[in-house]
Symmetry: C2
Subunit: 179 residues, 2 copies
């Protein structure tokens, strides 16, 4: 199986957190041509941050995509050229005021290779402590919620935690823990 040939990439709309491109491609075998749309964003990071009581630190915030208040792990965009671990430490502190001196990678995934270019990096921060005040972006309005580690799977089952990348970070953690 061969990769398709990218003939041209034309800029479409530019949003706050993504750029859209029209991509003209050619199928190698048939030489047929078609156009796809792709969404380009920065890479992202998601952090499972556990404090000394094994409570996980969650952020509660309004999300316009689903028009819902959601319960999510701390996370955000990795700046261009930034090391994912540095971004994870920065985002955890900015969004929650917590820091940790014990960081482990839980891997990374392609968010959606069909039409998105970016990866999401997952980290476990253990033994977290509240050492700083919040430092919100202008339009961030965030409440913290502590969820005991042993209630996380139930919260997924009840869809109180339902963001696919947040769930993936948690299920990767449990899979590693159980193996």
């Amino acid at each position: 199986m061969k990769k398709w040939k990218i003939l041209n990439k034309r800029a479409g709309v530019t949003g706050k957190i993504f750029k859209h491109f029209h991509v003209d491609v050619e199928v190698p075998q048939s030489k047929q041509q078609t156009t796809f749309d792709i969404i380009a964003t920065l890479d992202w990071v998601n952090i499972l941050a556990l404090d000394q009581n094994l409570d996980a630190i969650f952020v509660k915030q309004y999300r316009v995509g689903k028009d819902q208040i959601t319960l999510e792990l701390p996370g955000g965009a990795i700046e261009r050229g930034e090391d994912p671990l540095i971004a994870a430490k920065r985002e955890l502190q900015e969004e929650t005021g917590y820091t940790s001196d014990q960081w482990d990678s839980l891997g990374s995934s392609a968010v959606n290779p069909a039409f998105m270019i970016n990866d999401c990096h997952f980290f476990l921060a253990s033994n977290c402590k509240k050492t700083h005040e919040f430092n919100f972006d202008e339009f961030e309005e965030i409440e913290l919620e502590l969820v005991p580690e042993k209630e996380l799977v139930n919260k997924i089952e009840r869809k109180e935690i339902n963001h696919s990348l947040v769930e993936l970070c948690l299920t990767k953690y449990f899979l590693r823990k159980n193996n």
Copy 2:
């Protein structure tokens, strides 16, 4: 915590698999207004299909978002108003030629509440048999690959399986199996 107020939703670019909207919102407390971009797609379905030997049926295909050939579970878009399970049965048969008479839900997730409106539904199809020929869309070029169930976690670790929603379907399955 209150939901933000959606003031207006203006159509942006229309892609093959998504529509983009500019959404004007007001923060309830401060009355400040801002505009977000959201990506609207149909809901999706992903199927972990195991045959009688406990081999999982994967599809190998070129994906323009990452410009890579990827190994993914069968899946696709749920047509408007279609039952997710019906869509799962249809997609499995169309993409692989396999069918099953033993279906279980593995739950559903919001793909990304920050800027996407859609959900992804996950299913386990057991005891699958090859009963039909492939039925590709015009620009689908797909090879099947069977992966023994006990090699799935290794393939995730080695990033041979790396699509976030595919990984989530698999980790949900293993979490359920281990509990």
